[in-house]
Homo-oligomer: 336 residues x 4
């Protein structure tokens, strides 16, 4: 039984994580840390957990976390996470970090996109990116894993195998993504106010969404070359799900069949990637840890369509998948 | 051409009102007052108005409003409205008040339900309630009209004719209402945060919603006796629309046919009440000033079902209907 | 390992049932029967099951089902189920029946509400009603269980304990229920066509919904007297969830505290009923087997509010709970 | 007063058209033709029209239509329209055709994309395309106008001015469009069944949507050269609205400012195109005849974002705009 703590327990990724861990026969939630002063019961913040988990949200020091838990899931804002994680690691706690803090290789890149100095630059470039489909063996032994962003997961999984196989060019890649509103978090804002975003669709953060460098970095890794990616996120009136339509240029005379087979072969043994012939809908993978992928060749472009649940494969499900790898549990535990 | 000002221009009732008035051949919007310091353009607050209305939201004194406008629509919170309206009235501006401030007859009732002393108690009981279907002639000549609440409109229109005709008892009335989320206003809160209220349904303010005394007062007026009403509001994942299912006890041997005929006769000449045989859906009256009503006799109870658009017949459409009466425009102008 | 078959595999309750059973360590799905001729793969009907269950929908005789399975979940229309179930039972298969066929005690009641002669009248009144909270011990040993309707579950769970305790009268009960659209099934109709029911709310089947006699029968059972129930279903623009607001008359001087305590005591040891102080939202119990209940005393009435996921506690989750009882699995297996 | 008939009155474009025409002081709806045998009242098909229009849906011959109306709006499926329109024209009725029948220049193109022989090939290439922003003067005098498709309107309006100005290349254009579900029509299908498409997002008809050649033809017209367009439609869980994100390659050293100014200048005097700086949401133009457009230069691509209401500017509003031009009514009548 692995004892786990959740650091930052008030958000949507935290409650989703708790729901998954409650089904996990090898994990026990022993603490939920949060900045709230009044020690609210977890069920008063997340009513769906009533009667399922009897813990309060506490302000805990890293030492207090370490006294109880072997693993900490850090559901914290960027910047905050990299200030805390080193202390947890020093105290012997292994960490799955939901923030973007350890995803980029360089502190310059981080500073440029996040407008702040990185609190822990020495670790950058050494923390495995928590996509087991690409970095499974690197994830198993380490004390710290950088859990991927939701959009990047939806973009990297379809494109990386094609770049690795040399079927598409690493430049001129357009990633047109559409996400449900839980991706915007649990803090009420006008953008996510029901009468504003219901029955409406918009693009946002055009050309400056912070998932852009993360996508580019790992597509570049797959290509073995610098990747150029144009990323356009859209907000869709639904709770969960990301659908990513990616357009790329085939290298030479590539067929649709080749693209589908390359994807199918690459993920043949993966438990959570389904390469399908039909055009997937986000609902097919909603509330699951699956990523559904298909591809078409149209008008001289390779189009990939990929769907995930942004809170599960895009966040908390991936985190548990990483946790399973790190602590020797069967990889699919609690994710079926 | 009647010159009108909108006092409190940042909310949903204001933008809906503006959209209606832009279609009104006899009204000109000359000012929009608001507490915002920076004089934002109305289109920066309400993007749908881009290119349609070239005004800024200004902080205006009652005298400044009076210098420009003959009529003010006050879209203000309760308490605030009754502090400002007297000054507007003194300055010669006629007022359609969206707040609850002048709807109740007694300052004791107001204090009990709104937890504050009424700022203008002398007018209470003398301001006509802006339901033209019941108080048309009283509305025409006055300087100040109390525009009804959205839930009360949906409850009073089906029940008042039955009480007037003595077909139902004024006690033991259950008003089970279901409203879209625009009814909660434009200020972001957790209750109206998209991922909280989307795909969810809840009751709220059970036994203490402030529309309760307003419903009771006008049902009592219709019955000529004290009315006892149990009011249960629910929040429904949709933008607009209220459906009210009301249960009442028939007085003696009343038939469904009688109930439907009484309603049909009462509203035979009303431009905005449609007594229908089918069970109406809120979508039938969405974006219109109609109230759709039907009735059934089931299990010894009279059930009425009524639907309105909460922002139109429940607020801004009713306000323009009252404005039309007050200023001698054809009653249906801009509301067709 | 219990071998189970699903009879009628194309609908929403079937796919929900399959998802639950795939997490069940003691159940193996060995067959899915359906009337489709072309033996479609289950994933071609239910894309969410891609890669999770490798079975085709087959036309199977009762004998063929019996050759493979110990238990059959019958997800069939009323009338059809009671024609097939006897053959399955004769062949030694135990049956959880999702239809209404075995829920009513009398063939006259069935004929009156379902407009057809009951195919298997001899069993009526002898089949336990699959609400473990009320009939746990009766369910364990039997070959056939009548899985409850979704609305009845949401109405009976809050009201039965109050009737049993004599806190409310069995007459004059109003059950105002609001359901998500999955309750209407998977066959496209205008009522469930997205542009018709999205952003809309309506009542339907007023006074003639077939769940009415089922609610009345079990409330009568709880009261030890004939119960009179007025049932009003509404269709809400969301996928899942039922919220039932029930109004009843207290017997004597009952307090809100008494009502809440009676409910709390009755369900103190139940794994899937949560008596809460807050007003529950359907989202709190969505995708779970929980029923959330609260109560208020307002205007001389007892109001209970109860929420379930119509596809889980209202159908497939309850079915697995019954299956667990019948086959000796821990009652909460696969339902956590 | 222009007497108008609606041919094909049961769909969503028809009811939207009727709502608009009811506000039109210069148009009178004199007939609604449909294939239904039983002459249903229009309000029995479209409940929102109760009390607003007292007509039945009749089976009418072209001669019967001509005896009553000067103008016919044909809301018919492709193929059917081009069989009927010639007879209406011969009988002296001017026609606004909602179908795709007269949009393409060549019968070969029509046959290739619509899998049928064109019924009236002689007119192809001579019927003006009903985008007043591009073809206003051609539309005024003619007896027949081809009302544009919804997706094409959303794609052509932002791109045509840039192609005309030579700011972007006519090749390598990607049009990634997202539409609400009313675009799928009023006939219930599994794709538009509420529980299937609610809370879900999917791409459909990849590479084979019939609006592709229409977009290409008019972008080619604007460019004065063959245009190559990749068109990807997506279905979004909302009633109305299309957001089109188009990616194109700048020709030479073009700046974002230049692109925005070119669009702004081109549409400076257009009543229904708003070039905005903010990223528009579909809700800004919902229920209006506006098209909102903005542009960004990101990663070496010109990105245009454009929003329309698919039923209004994408269908019935555009039709009335064309009607206004054809019959000499002020162009914005009933569309404000």
């Amino acid at each position: 039984m692995t004892r786990v703590a959740i650091i930052g327990g008030a958000g949507y990724t935290a409650v989703e994580l708790i729901r998954i861990l409650l089904r996990h026969p090898g994990a026990e939630i022993v603490a939920i840390s949060d900045i709230q002063e009044n020690r609210p019961h977890v069920a008063s913040i997340h009513p769906s957990l009533t009667g399922r988990l009897d813990l309060c949200l506490e302000k805990l020091t890293p030492a207090e976390v370490a006294a109880r838990a072997e693993c900490a899931f850090c559901c914290l804002p960027h910047g905050v996470s990299a200030s805390l994680a080193p202390q947890l690691l020093d105290a012997g706690v292994r960490v799955v970090d939901f923030s973007a803090d350890y995803r980029l290789d360089s502190s310059e890149g981080f500073a440029a996109w996040y407008n702040q100095k990185h609190p822990d630059p020495g670790r950058l470039g050494k923390v495995p990116y928590g996509l087991p489909e690409l970095f499974r063996e690197q994830i198993r032994p380490v004390p710290l894993v950088a859990n991927p962003g939701c959009y990047p997961t939806s973009a990297i999984l379809p494109l990386a195998p094609l770049l690795k196989a040399g079927l598409i060019e690493p430049v001129d890649i357009i990633v047109d993504s559409k996400s449900g509103v839980t991706g915007a978090g649990r803090t009420p804002t006008l953008l996510s106010h029901y009468p504003e975003c219901n029955e409406s669709l918009c693009a946002y953060n055009l050309g400056r969404h912070r998932h852009t460098p993360e996508i580019a970095q790992y597509l570049g890794w797959a290509a073995g070359a610098k990747a150029e990616v144009l990323f356009t996120p859209h907000l869709v009136p639904m709770d969960r799900g990301i659908l990513t339509t990616a357009y790329s240029r085939p290298r030479g005379s590539v067929t649709e069949q080749q693209v589908l087979e390359t994807l199918g072969d690459f993920y043949a043994n993966e438990p959570f990637v389904r390469v399908v012939e039909r055009l997937p809908a986000t609902k097919d993978s909603a509330t699951t840890n699956f990523c559904d992928i298909t591809a078409r060749m149209v008008g001289g472009k390779v189009i990939t369509i990929s769907c995930i649940d942004n809170l599960i494969k895009g966040a908390s499900g991936a985190a548990v998948q990483n946790f399973n790898l790190m602590f020797g549990h069967p990889e699919t535990t609690a994710l079926g």
